[in-house]
Structures are given as C-alpha cells and as structure tokens.
Symmetry: C2
Subunit: 390 residues, 2 copies
DNA sequence: GGCATTTGTAGTCAAGGACAACAAATACCC
DNA sequence: GGGTATTTGTTGTCCTTGACTACAAATGCC
C-alpha cells in the first residue's frame, strides 16, 4: 500500500532486474547485464554474486567470443529453483516441473474419464505433484504451484468464480490445493496466462503492448499485455474477448442468438461441416485446406468477418503492437492471412492499426504451463532476496 | 531504457510521491504524508523541506484539529508553478492557467469564425499565452503548455496524425506551438486527457481501473485508466471506443452503414427529432425529458441499446471498477440509469460486471483543461528535483 | 611482443533513509 | 490548574547501496 521507497528497495529492484534479464531475456554474459541495466560493473558483479549465493543464478567460464577484451563470465539460471505448473481440464490434468527460463523439465498428463469435480482434481494434483517431486533431482526446490484455470479467477484470493466447462462455481480451488500439497499455490485464468507466456517467451517477446486471443475446444479466451504486464482489471477478470458481441455487417452472418464472438466463431461448426468428430489444430488446418465442400469455405469466410470485427474493436481500444492468435484462431489466421488483415484494417482507425500485425502464437501446447509457471515464479522474481536455498 | 536503479532514484521517487500526494490527493498535513507514504518522520520532513525550497510546496502553521498530540504543519501546493492548458476546437480556442492541485486560475475563450488552420491556431495560442502570462502575477512561472487535441496524437513526437473535425492531417502542431511560444509543449488526445482528469480529480478519484467515454458535438472519444495510468497503446492512439462496432440484437436498430458507436449513438439525430438547432447538455436533457413525441423516446431507447452493447464489450475486456460517461453520453445515462445498467449487465460476464458502476463525469467544462494541465505538469511531477524557481 | 580494448576486482566515497533520543505542542483527566 | 499520555517535529548517528577510481587480467590486433 505505501508508496515509500528506501535503499533496500533499490537492492530488491536491482536484484529483480538482473534475475529478470537472465530469466526472460536469456541474457548470457555478465557484461551484457552491465550494458542492459546501465549499472556499474562492480554493482553488477555484486548483484550477480548475491543471486548466485541465493541459488538463483550460476556463473560459468567465459565462452570464446572472438571479441577484443577480457571475456565475461556466462550467466544462466540455476536449475534448482523450480515450480510446478498445473492445468486442470475437462478431459485431463496436465502438469509440469518448470525451471527458470521457461525450461519445462518434466511433463505429465493424467486423463480423466469424467469431468473432474474440484475434489477429484485436488486428489489428482496432489498425486501428480508427489510424483513429479519424487522424480526430480533431489537438489530441486519447488517454490510454488501455478494453476491455469479454464475459468474466471478472482485476483485477490484466487477463488474460482466460474469455470463453465468444468461446471465449477465459487470454488476455493487454490486454497484446496494448497491444503493438500503444502506449497504456496497461485492461480489465474488460463487464457491470461497464455497471453503472459506468449509475451515473455513466445510470439510477443519484447512487445509490451499486445492482445492475445485463443480459440480452444471450450470457447475463446484472451488476455492483454499493457505496458509489459498483464491487464487484470479490478477483480482479475479482464480479457474476456470471447464474450464480446462484435458488429456484423450482414445480419445473416450472425447465426446464434447471443451473437458472442465465441458462439459465432465456432470450431465445432467447422468440424461439423467437415464431418469430423474431433481433430487437433494441424489436422483441422489440413482438413479445411483440402475440403471440397464450398460450405466450409463460406463458413470460414463468415467466421473470419466476425473475428475481424472483434479484433478491430480491440485494436481501436488498445492500439496494440501485436495481435497474437492461438489455437483455433491461429488456424483461422493461417487459412487466409491477407484477407483477415485487410478486414481488420477496414474496421479500425488507420493510425491505431498502423504498425500492428496479427501473428500466430508460438509456444504450442506448453503455453499454459509456461504461463502458470511464470505466475508461480512471480513472488520469487519480484523479490529474489527472500529466496533461500533449501 | 535502462532498468537500473540507484540511490538518487529513491530520492526522486520519494519527492515525486510526496508532491503527488499533495497535488492529486490534496493531503494537507505533514503527518498525513508520513502516514500515507510509510516513510520515516525525519525523511518526510526533509522531503517536504526540499520541495518547499524548490518552490513547489508551501508549509503553513498548523490548523486546529482538536486531536491529541503536537499539531502538524499544513502542506499545500505553492501557487507559483503553473502550466497553460489549451484546447483548440472547431469553433474556439480555450485556454487556462492552471496551478498544482488542478486549480484553474484564469480561463479565456477565443471564438473563431471559421474552422482554424494549424497556422491560425498557433497564432491565436501564442496570443492567448502572452495575454495569460501578462495577466498572471509576476511570481508565476509557466512550466509548460499542454494541448488537448480533438484528434489522434502520436505519443513519441506529439505529431497530430488526424484531427477529423479540424481537418488536420500529419501536422506537427505541438512543435509549431513550441516554436511560436518558446515553452515546452505537450499534447495528447482530448478524450484521453478527459479520462485522466476524471481519474485524478473527478468521478474516478482513487479508482485505478476505469474506462471513460465522452460524447461531444463531434463524436465519441474515450480513454482507459489501467493500473492508475492512462492506456496509451503502442503509438498513443488507444481508447477509440467511438470507432468500435458493437453488436446489435435487432438489425433494424442499426441505422448507419458503418455501424460505429459514434455514428449510431448520435446526438445530432436526437436534436433533429427534437427540432433543435443546438443545445448544451442541460438543455438537451430537459428537452428529452419533456418531449411529447414518442419518436424521441424510441430513438433514445435504440441508442441506449447500442451504447450498452459497446459498454458491455469494454467491460468484458477491461473489467473496470468504473465506467465514466461524459457529455452527451452522461445525458444518456441520466435519461434512464437502471435500464442502461441492466442492458450492460445482460451483455457482460457476471463476474466482470460485478462491482462495476456507470457514473456521469464530474468535472464539467474544465475537464479537458485539467487533463491538459496534468499532461503539462507530468515532467515536473515525475522529477521534481529538476525544477528550479525562476 | 607490444598495445589497445574490454572487463573483473578491490577500496573509497557520498547520499539516502532508518532509527533513537529528545523536545514541543496538544488533549484529557483529576 | 497541574500532571500525564499522545502525537509529531528535530537532531544526530548509523547502515546500506551504488558510483567511482585505480589497477589487474585476459583477449585481439598489428
């Protein structure tokens, strides 16, 4: 709450800055850290030394760089501090051990027969966490657990307000996991964490203003990165692009009564037209491309128009540098990029659109786990001095 | 660019924090500053003393507070540092001398016969600034000039990209004013500055996440406050809510071809139905309320539905604590608040809407000038140590 | 092999806020 | 009206931090 600032705060922020450079930007030599932070050489040496002592970074022998001058030691994350990222879904619980630098160490997927209740999920997670901890080198120390929840999560207390496809309402899921596992648990909306992951390690690297929309089996979620950090809003529910109702030029193009983006731009509808039961994104992309039926093309075109309208609205409001599309929406983008681009341009203020590009997400299926891991690492990254080696 | 942090930075931030408390939150005693910052008493004493030396604050005798303990000196802004806020519009150039704490000292309005060219506007502004400076007490020192532009302003170099109603395109207006007046000039979009003003001094005081939409004679502009500061986006063009195309339930409710919010929710259309040439907002509100024609009510209802859809989209995405409506949109809100509320609720995710309220703007006609003044004060507020008394 | 260049290292310095002790100014209680 | 508790201003000391300087180390280049 207090806005005060003291000398200790300087140290905390500088430690965080250095750790952040190595973690997010994969900076590899101490000299680079000096250049990028603008700090004095001796200060950087002390900061890195402290982070090494804390067990967060490792310094290694200089690598031949064929440049004039004394070589600088390489710096990389210590492999020991890890978090466990978890994504409970309707058909499975996926989890992974993730180290600094978004290094996914181990990954397990536990399919479930029926949509899990919160209690089911807690049991599975506790079990998976035990297994992952047991299978990890003994040196690893698990800092926290990060949950990517397919639903709305209240920021202040991590309460799951509503997870439509899981059928959960007002579930204190994070607290339940915390009780069962005995580790700090952080939780956020899955799409928001996807946005965070793409911003830090994916298609949006180095981009401080972007919006992200993801088309999953269960609908469309999203998130926005504003000035380099996740837009949360008052309660933590920001980014619900899928629930928006974009304007449609031709009333016949609207085929659902609610008219929300996720109802209109529906993966299931295209699967139906293709006569497919299910498909992963590459399969779907191929099926669309090779489809002979013109109905598929017409439907894709219809959906594209509505997607463009929704993106146009978002671009007008956020003036982002990048629009990142994941999942089914990336498939949509791949289907006909120039037309989608043009359609968005038509619905935006020219200045706001200029310099914006629409790109597919880059991280693939690890995206949510990387985002959840980042969430779990956040306390450590913000105040590395509080971290103690086990 | 560099993320470094040093001991001097602590001082700079603490000076800024203290000045900010007095300027924005009208904190009035030194003890309050101590409590709110969490800084040590002696530190606050030194900080305030430095700000007094710099000519930014004044300390006065304690005021009787009927509380136990030694009374604390009152602290208030020094009246000497001022900025000049300017709002060039189609029908007039308005300007004011504004001191810290949003104190509007002098205000002048220079009507123009025809829509001014950039050169016309520069001439008028140079003249008005001379007049305002001459009429101000000699002790006043003008820190900068802030321009509220009815158009898109590129953040990096303050270039006016497009001001539709003025008919300006790619005009380096801020630079022109700077050359003519010889003072630092800052510029931003008028609606964005309105959002800033309402956030700091108006209906959005103390609210760190809000969206603001303003209905003016020339259309609908807006801005968003995210985590306590203005959403700029990549180029500075964020907040163009008026150009969005919200979904409409009944196709007949859409009466324009483009279907943008500002085309559909049109003040002119209502004026027409009322048979009025022009009106200010109170007059319009009364005219709507007393109108016998049902056409007016039908039109208002139609517009309300579209406005609600646009607001719903924005609430889903931003999850703001507050939606602030200004100008014609405030009139719309006043016309039937519960129905508008309910209509927005119907188009939003329940969790995102919960805790959000829609309120009218509070600052009236000084809003843009206060926003522009805030912009002009920003360098001073960020780094008070660089300010020198003339 | 000498030299320029870059970077690590060690020691000194200055600045800032915390803290403790004391003084000052008020309200409250008897 | 006097004593006491409470709150806050004031002063001086201390600790932490990053900057700076000088020097050493390690490389490429001529």
């Amino acid at each position: 709450m207090p806005a005060r600032d003291n000398v200790d705060g300087v140290r905390r922020r500088n430690l965080a800055t250095v750790l952040d450079l190595v973690h997010h930007r994969r900076v590899s030599s101490r000299a680079d850290v000096t250049a990028l932070t603008g700090l004095n050489r001796s200060t950087v040496a002390a900061l890195v030394a402290e982070l090494v002592t804390l067990g967060l970074l490792e310094e290694g022998d200089p690598v031949a760089s064929s440049r004039v001058g004394r070589p600088s030691p390489v710096v990389h994350p210590d492999p020991r501090p890890v978090v466990i990222a978890v994504n409970p879904e309707v058909d499975a619980v996926t989890a992974a051990v993730v180290g600094l630098g978004a290094r996914v160490e181990r990954r397990v997927r536990r399919p479930v027969d029926a949509v899990p209740t919160p209690e089911d999920a807690v049991t599975i997670i506790a079990d998976v966490v035990r297994e992952l901890v047991a299978a990890s080198p003994r040196s690893r120390r698990v800092a926290a657990i990060g949950l990517a929840i397919p639903g709305l999560v209240r920021a202040e207390d991590r309460l799951v307000r509503w997870a439509p496809h899981l059928g959960w309402r007002e579930v204190p899921f994070a607290a339940m996991v915390e009780d069962a596992v005995g580790l700090p648990v952080l939780a956020d909306n899955d799409a928001s964490l996807g946005a965070l992951a793409e911003h830090l390690f994916g298609a949006g690297r180095g981009v401080d203003d972007l919006i992200y929309l993801n088309g999953g089996a269960s609908g469309i979620g999203g998130g926005a990165i504003v000035r380099g950090s996740l837009l949360t809003g008052r309660g933590g529910y920001a980014g619900e692009f899928g629930q928006n109702r974009p304007g449609v030029d031709d009333p016949h193009d609207r085929v659902t009564s609610r008219g929300t983006l996720e109802d209109e731009v529906s993966r299931a509808r295209v699967l139906d037209l293709l006569g497919l039961e299910s498909a992963d994104e590459p399969q779907l992309a191929t099926a669309i491309k090779t489809a002979t039926s013109s109905a598929v093309r017409v439907e894709m075109r219809r959906q594209q128009g509505i997607l463009a309208a929704a993106l146009g609205n978002a671009v007008n409001v956020f003036n982002p540098e990048l629009v990142v599309l994941g999942g089914y929406l990336a498939t949509h983008l791949a289907w006909d990029p120039p037309t989608l681009d043009a359609a968005v341009r038509d619905t935006t203020v020219p200045a706001a659109w200029e310099g914006t590009s629409i790109v597919p997400a880059a991280l693939g299926e690890d995206r949510l786990l990387i985002g959840a891991a980042e969430l779990a690492f956040q306390p450590l990254l913000r105040d590395p001095g509080k971290w103690f080696v086990g």
